[in-house]
């Protein structure tokens, strides 16, 4: 059940209605049942995996809290971490690692048919953060298995985040308050904004990008335009998902953290990462960067911690060297900014504009690594970028007809309005009316031809 399907909206409406009607004491059970049903719609057998993660981390949390000695606490924490890491290693990285070792040994690896559970990287990280917070004494271990299970499996953020912390989400799930009128307004605005980003912008850009990446020898201008379009596609795809998640939670009276804050307006690469997938950045900062020394133990340590974070971030995104290189590319850029003490300039003018342009130019090629199927394709397309450009041939390869191109351009111009909505600002009623009209029309366009595009981050 994808967030961008009408079926999800019916499911959400039913859950919100029953949630309002049922007694506060049993709301957690309703949400947990709804969340497990939501997940089972993807794959019923793989629901067992998430149940396993819940039982393991809940049990280890209690054992850590009950342990008298530091060694025992560490032992149970290590057991939970090994369980989470082992799960990711098997489902996500086994074929990748086996293939890498086989290549080093000069052989070949026949990949095993392992089905990756949807949202595996997200819920294991969320569960790991709970165990680490209990181990550090930041939060008390949750004794109620139902509340804890709901914290991990809460359907709006189950399959692609935002990665929430127990200290923020668990108290809200326990309180199970009814959404206020203002919460409902904000929730609806976020759901509409998210659906618009996904259906009207991301899905309209996707076929053009796919065409260029499927071409044998595309024109340089086509590769450049496809990269620009992919930058907007992936942003609107993931930010759209995050907004639908946030909006769905708002309708249930629960506040999730923002995951995006206009990342392409950043004037440094570090600034970009403070605005892009903010919940993952915060996770890596708290559980990897700071424990490795952060910025308090000298420049060398800071460089090492930064590179470690971006190496792991790349690997988290996908089991392929393209993702690892994508992470390292961003890591190198951040390290250069640290060494050159480059900071975001505030205000307007030539210098901040130049900073913004330089950041955009540095980030754009990294999307090639993210989107390409393998390193061979990366090198081919990168080479094509510097070949002769024939803009007319490029535009024809993208396959964006006159009306479609105009629709995409008009939709991209709405991004400032969508940002207002995602910040919870009030807008005239007609904005909601025309947003809804655009979403329905985009659904009809999808039904008439191209078919649904899954959210990109579901694969992680």
């Amino acid at each position: 059940m994808s967030f961008d399907s009408p079926f999800y909206l019916l499911f959400l409406a039913a859950i919100v209605l029953v949630h309002r009607l049922c007694p506060v004491k049993i709301r957690w059970a309703l949400l947990l049942a709804g969340s497990l049903f939501f997940y089972a719609c993807w794959s019923a057998p793989l629901t067992l995996v998430i149940v396993g993660v819940i039982l393991l981390t809940w049990g280890c949390g209690l054992l850590i809290a009950g342990s008298k000695t530091r060694v025992r606490k560490r032992l149970w924490m290590a057991a939970a971490m090994a369980g989470c890491a082992g799960l990711l290693l098997w489902f996500k990285y086994f074929n990748f690692l086996a293939d890498t070792f086989a290549r080093i040994a000069g052989g070949a690896w026949e990949p095993l048919d392992i089905l990756l559970p949807v949202g595996c990287s997200f819920y294991t990280f969320q569960a790991a953060s709970y165990v680490l917070d209990v181990y550090r004494g930041r939060i008390a271990a949750e004794r109620h298995p139902g509340h804890y299970a709901l914290y991990i499996a809460f359907f709006p953020q189950l399959v692609a985040g935002p990665i929430e912390r127990a200290e923020a989400l668990l108290p809200q799930l326990k309180a199970a308050k009814t959404a206020s009128r203002e919460d409902a307004r904000k929730g609806l605005a976020l759901v509409l904004s998210g659906l618009f980003r996904k259906l009207v912008i991301a899905d309209m850009a996707a076929p053009a990008v796919d065409r260029v990446f499927a071409a044998v020898c595309p024109d340089g201008s086509a590769v450049f335009l496809a990269l620009v379009l992919f930058a907007f596609q992936i942003y609107c795809d993931f930010a759209g998902y995050s907004e639908i998640a946030q909006g769905s939670a708002y309708l249930l009276g629960i506040r999730l953290r923002r995951n995006f804050d206009r990342p392409y307006l950043a004037r440094t690469v570090r600034g970009f990462w403070r605005r892009w997938h903010m919940s993952l950045t915060a996770w890596f900062t708290d559980y990897v960067y700071i424990p490795l020394g952060g910025s308090r133990r000298g420049m060398g340590r800071q460089v090492f911690a930064t590179m470690a974070v971006f190496f792991l971030s790349g690997l988290w995104h996908g089991a392929d060297w393209t993702f690892v290189l994508w992470g390292l590319w961003h890591g190198v850029l951040c390290v250069l900014e640290i060494l050159l003490r480059r900071r975001e300039r505030s205000g307007r003018g030539i210098l901040p504009l130049g900073q913004w342009a330089l950041t955009a130019v540095l980030i754009l090629p990294s999307w090639l690594l993210f989107r390409a199927a393998n390193l061979g394709q990366v090198s081919m397309l990168f080479g094509r970028l510097f070949s002769a450009w024939d803009p007319l041939a490029g535009l024809s390869l993208l396959g964006l007809g006159g009306v479609r191109a105009a629709c995409l351009a008009a939709a991209l111009l709405q991004l400032p309005l969508l940002d207002r909505l995602s910040r919870g600002r009030r807008v005239p009623d007609m904005v909601y009316f025309f947003l809804a009209a655009c979403i329905v029309l985009a659904w009809l366009i999808r039904a008439a031809g191209q078919g649904a595009n899954a959210f990109i981050y579901f694969q992680f």
Binding site: R404, A410, P416, V427, P428, M430, V431, F434, I445, A448
Partner: protein, 73 residues
């Protein structure tokens, strides 16, 4: 005939929406919305592609967004 009606309704919707945004009048904006619905009905009867209806909807959304910016504190 139907094509002419669709064009007229589309222009009327845009004009009312723009006027509504300019004067900050919800009534004019809603009238624009009604004209847009009538425009959609005509386009449906004409069996036009959905993209040709999406573009005017996006333009009208842009006009409403302009009003939102005007009304921002």
């Amino acid at each position: 005939m139907l094509t002419a009606a669709a064009i007229a309704l589309g222009i009327l919707a845009l004009a009312l929406e723009t006027l509504g945004a300019w004067k900050r009048s919800s009534r004019l904006s809603w009238l624009g919305g009604l004209c847009f619905i009538a425009f959609m009905a005509c386009m449906l009867l004409l069996d036009r592609p959905w993209e040709q209806m999406l573009l005017p909807a996006l333009v009208l959304l842009g006009v409403s967004g302009w009003r939102a910016r005007r009304e921002a504190p």
